[in-house]
Amino acid sequence: MPGTKEIRSKIASVKSTQKITKAMEMVAASKMRRAQERMRMARPFAAASRRVITHLNQANPDYRHPFMVERPAKAIGAIVVSTDRGLCGALNANTFKTTLQLARQSQRAGASVSLCVLGNKGLGFFRRLDYPILASTTGLGDRPHVADLIGAVKVMLDAYRDGRLDRLVLVHAQFVNTMTQRPRTLQLLPIEANPEVEAGLPEHWDYIYEPSAAEILDALLIRYLESQVYQGMVENVACEMAARMVAMKAASDNAGELITELQLVYNKARQAAITKELAEIVGGAAAV
């Protein structure tokens, strides 16, 4: 029978752990809501830039931006979004698994694979493997900004422009609901020209361009792609918080169970000690 004192200190330590996990759970819950809000805020930009790009395409059918030209996929680039911190369940592991599957598939098809890794956990994982990492950004925090992504995305876009990559995909966790996050692979480049025609507008009209259509399209496409990566990043933060919330809830529950069990053992030990003492007193009295 372990001493009551040891059990008591064990209970105290589990209780303080439970306090921390509970606090982390609540912090994650509130951060998740804010991340979801940012996810929603990012949508109008993507929709608006997509609309302008579609329009430009329809108005200039003879001009094809390099980002829109389909090439045989001999070199594939993947932008992998991961979290900076752990304690968020299998979120990162799932994203990495999907990335590796994609990489192996591409290699079987005879294509090379290179990566751009966002987030600490991804960098820690992929640096041990032998895929070339072209660029990386870490420490983006819970509120990523587009400005932090520009560099890493530019490296990949430049590689595509120079013909070192023939396809660019984005791998990140998709927020289905609080309990479910799924890895998603999204093709960034080449951009499929959207064939749908906007209703309610005359078919043959064009903008006045200042300076030129090509230049504007280039600037727009880069911003559009950055906003896609940003959206993936923000969604990943929402997933991270949801996963952490669930993981911390499980941890708090487990700690609660452990405390109940320990309490039981403690009570038994205490009772045994009292009984023993009583028996000793009675025995002593009888001896006298």
Partner: protein, 138 residues
């Protein structure tokens, strides 16, 4: 006479509503757009966007550059959240490449270990503070 105006950035909507006049810094010069302007697509420089709403009020926003689209029935400003320039983008790209190389050459462990330690120290300090506050309150 007014027209629908949307100013959006990748991180959120900045303005959405009706406008009588919009003045913005175009890449080729200052632009003033009124309703029924010809369809126009242009880039804008970092600067101030001034909006005159139908009730005569004037609002102004700072944008870090971006693109302007004018359609018969709406104006859209796709605003940048960060100042953009060729050199700046290039520098950011170089930094991203460098980080990847550093990580591959093995500096990551030390950095992340130190970071983790610092973070742990901060968390412990926070918990201590909270406990102190609780004692005072209780």
């Amino acid at each position: 006479m007014d027209i629908q105006l949307d100013i959006v950035s990748a991180e959120g909507e900045i303005f959405s509503g009706r406008a009588r006049l919009v003045i913005l810094p175009g890449s080729e010069g200052e632009l003033g757009i009124t309703p029924r302007h010809a369809p126009l697509l242009t880039l804008i420089k970092p600067g101030e966007v001034r909006v005159q709403t139908p009730d005569g009020e004037e609002q102004s926003f700072y944008v870090g550059g971006g693109a302007l689209e004018v359609q018969p029935n709406r104006i859209t400003v796709l605003a940048d959240t960060a100042a953009r320039a060729h050199d700046l983008d290039e520098a950011a790209a170089l930094a991203a490449q460098q980080r990847a190389q550093e990580a591959l050459s093995g500096h990551l462990d030390k950095i992340s270990y130190a970071e983790a330690q610092a973070e742990l120290a901060r968390a412990v300090a926070q918990i201590k503070l909270i406990q102190k506050l609780r004692k005072i309150k209780g």
